[in-house]
Symmetry: C2
Subunit: 374 residues, 2 copies
C-alpha cells in the first residue's frame, strides 16, 4: 500500500499537463494510458508483461466482473489485485456503459438500471450505490460513479435527460463512497454528448459536488474527432487544475496526442488489444496491417528499435503467418507490441511536456506516422 | 551449430535408457518430450517460455507448413529455426499422418499421396522424395520418412499393405536424404498396427536399410494402452541400441512413463497443449479439470512447488475464472503449466534411470497421481 490517493501537477506546456497520481497501490504517471482488462485479464498478456510495457495502471470492467466471477467472490479471494496478480493501481468503471451496450432487456429509471445478464439471463439491478459497493468489493484504487452514456447522435432531450440522471447518480455515488476504505478515489463523470452548453452545465455542479477526479464520458461514441476535441476544450477549463482528468474510452494514437494537448490526463481504450488480436499493429510508423500479403516475405522485425521484445525478435513475415493462421501467438505478440507502443507514446508525451516541447514532439510523431517505413 | 547428429546411450535401468542426442542446433536429453509446434508455433507459448519449461526440442508439422507459409518461403526467410525464433533442435514429421487425417480427396499409391489442401482446395502431391525435400528446406535437425499410418482397428490386409508401402518409402526417403546438409538426421518408421509379427517384419528391413533413429508409428490411434505397450515390447528388441527410439504421437503422462520403462527415448503429443486450451491441467497430483466449479473459490495455486511461474503465481480460482470466461490467458497459463509438468516428469525419469531407481520413481509418481490433492 503506497499511500492515499492524491494528484500532483508537475508541469504544463500550454494546456497540456504532466502529473503524478498517488494511489494505495502505487504511482501513476500522467498522461497515462490504461490497458483494458475486462474480465480481470488484459487479453493475451501476462501481468508481468503488461507492467514491462510501462503501464502504471489497468482498467477492469465492473459489468463483466459482477456477472462472473462476482464481486463478493473476488473480495473473499483477497480482491482484484490479488485475483489477477496485478499488484499495481487499478481503475474500475461503474458498469453503466457496458450495461447499456451489452445487456439485453435493460430498463433505466431514476433508481438505476435493471438488466438481464448476457451470460445466463439472470436479472440484475445496478444502482449508483451498488456500483460503488461492487467497486469497493473489487478493491479498485479508483472507482467511477454510475452514469448514463447516451450514444451519439442523440436528440437534445435525450442528452439533457442523460445529463440530469448522471448528476443525480453522481451525488448518490459520492454518499455511497463514504463507506470506502481510506485512500481510495471516486471520479465523477461529465456527460452532455456533443452539446457544449450541456457539457458545461454538467461539469459545473459535478465540480461543486466534489470528486477526486473528473472523467469526460460519452465521447468517442461515433462522433467525428473534431467534435470530441471541441467538447474537451469546453469542459477542461471548468475542471479544477488539482484533479486528474480522464477521457473515457479514447482512443487512437492521434486521439491521445490531441487530447493530451488539450489537458486530459488519463485514457483507456480497447483499440491496442482488440486490433492486435485482429492483425493490426500500432507503431512509430503508423498503423501496419499484418494481414496484408506484402509482409509475407519481409524479414524485418516490426520495429528494431522498440523496447518491446515482440517488436524486435520476430519478423514481419512470421507475424503475417501467425495472423493468417489465426494462431494465439500472433494475437499475443501484436497485443504486446501495441500496448508497448501506446506506453512509448505516453512516455514521449510526458517527457515533451516536462521539457515544454510538446508541439515539436507532436509534429515529429505525426510526421513519422505519415512517412511510414516501406 | 552445435555439431552433427549423434546419439550417446549413457545408462540403462532395465530396458529403460538414459541418453543424449547431439544435433546441429544443440543437445537433446533423452527420454525427451517434444512439444508440438504445428504451424511453426507451440500454441499460446513464447519461444523463450517453451525453453524455460525444460524443452530441448520441438516438433513442427510438415503438412501444415507445406500449405502455409510454404517450405520454399521459410527457406528463403532463413529456415524454420529463425522463422519461429527457436534456435534449438527441431524435429519435423513427414506430413503423411496429417494428410491422412486432415486432407479431403486424398489418393494413396506406390508413388505417394495426392490430396487437396484443407485451406484453399489446391491439389498437392507428397512423395517420399518431396517430404524429405520439404524437411530439408525447413532446416529440420531430425526429419522423418514418409509413411502410411493405418488407423486401428484395421483389417490384416490393410496393415500389410501399409507396412509394405512404408518400407518402400523408407528406402526412397533415405536416398533422397543424401541431398541433406551434413549433420542432419533421418528417422525410419516402424509400422504394422497391432500385429506383433508385422511389427517385427517391418522393423527388421528398416534397420537393415539403416537410419539415424527409429520411430514407432501407428500407435495411440485408438487401441488400448496395453496393446500399445505390447507392440513396443515386440519392436524395441529389434532396434539397435545405439540409435534413438521415438514413439510418435504419445501420450498421457502414464503412457510416457510406461513407454520409457520399455526403452523408448522420444515422444511428442498435443495433449498438454490441447488439453491446456480446454481447461485441463496435468500435474503431480494427476489431471485437474479447472472447469469444475469446486475450484471457483480455491485460493491455492495449482502447484506451489512447481518450477513453472504459471503454476505458482495464480490461484485455482483465477484459472477457473479464465477458463470459464474463455480467456486467452487461461489457455496460455494452462499450456505453460502442462508443458512444464511434462518436462518435469521427463527430467524425473532421466534422473531415476541414471540412478537406477526407475521402478521406485514410477511407483512414487503414480501414487501421487492417485492421491490427488483435495
Amino acid at each position: 500500500m503506497a499511500g492515499s490517493f492524491s494528484f500532483h501537477l508537475m508541469a504544463n506546456d500550454g494546456t497540456a499537463r504532466l502529473g503524478e497520481i498517488e494511489t494505495p497501490h502505487g504511482r501513476v504517471r500522467t498522461p497515462a494510458f490504461m490497458p483494458v482488462g475486462t474480465q480481470a485479464t488484459v487479453k493475451g498478456m501476462y501481468p508481468g508483461q503488461i507492467r514491462a510495457t510501462g503501464a502504471d495502471i489497468v482498467l477492469a470492467n465492473t459489468y463483466h466482473l459482477m456477472l462472473r466471477p462476482g464481486p463478493e467472490r473476488i473480495a473473499a479471494l483477497g480482491g482484484l489485485h490479488r485475483f489477477m496478480n496485478w499488484p499495481h493501481p487499478i481503475l474500475t468503471d461503474s458498469g453503466g456503459f457496458q450495461v447499456m451496450s451489452l445487456a439485453p432487456l435493460r430498463r433505466i429509471d431514476e433508481q438505476g438500471v435493471t438488466f438481464r445478464s448476457h451470460l445466463d439471463g439472470t436479472m440484475y439491478e445496478l444502482t449508483p450505490e451498488r456500483a460503488v459497493e461492487i467497486q469497493i468489493l473489487l478493491g479498485a484504487d479508483i472507482a467511477m460513479q454510475l452514469d448514463e452514456c447516451v450514444k451519439l447522435p442523440a436528440a437534445p432531450g435525450d442528452l439533457q435527460r442523460g445529463g440530469r440522471l448522471s448528476l443525480g447518480w453522481a451525488e448518490r455515488s459520492k454518499r455511497a463512497f463514504e463507506q470506502a476504505p481510506a485512500g481510495r478515489a471516486l471520479f465523477g463523470i461529465v456527460q452532455g454528448g456533443d452539446d457544449a452548453a450541456l457539457r458545461r452545465h454538467s461539469a459545473g455542479p459535478l465540480v461543486a459536488t466534489g470528486f477526486d477526479g473528473y472523467a469526460v464520458g460519452g465521447l468517442a461514441v461515433g462522433e467525428p474527432q473534431e467534435v470530441m476535441l471541441r467538447m474537451i476544450e469546453e469542459v477542461a477549463p471548468v475542471l479544477p487544475d488539482n484533479c486528474p482528468r480522464y477521457l473515457m474510452g479514447v482512443g487512437t494514437p492521434d486521439d491521445l496526442v490531441e487530447a493530451v494537448a488539450r489537458g486530459m490526463d488519463m485514457f483507456d481504450c480497447v483499440l491496442p488489444t482488440r486490433n492486435g488480436r485482429h492483425g493490426l499493429a500500432f507503431s512509430r510508423f503508423g498503423p501496419i496491417n499484418l494481414k496484408n500479403a506484402r509482409h509475407a516475405d519481409d524479414q524485418r522485425p516490426l520495429d528494431a528499435t522498440s523496447a518491446c521484445p515482440a517488436a524486435r525478435d520476430f519478423s514481419r513475415a512470421y507475424l503475417h503467418h501467425l495472423t493468417k493462421a489465426n494462431e494465439m501467438l500472433g494475437a499475443m505478440l501484436l497485443t504486446a507490441i501495441n500496448l508497448s507502443y501506446y506506453q512509448e507514446l505516453m512516455a514521449g508525451l510526458r517527457t515533451a511536456i516536462g521539457e515544454r516541447r510538446l508541439a515539436d514532439f507532436v509534429a515529429e510523431t505525426k510526421a513519422q506516422w505519415r512517412a511510414g517505413d516501406e
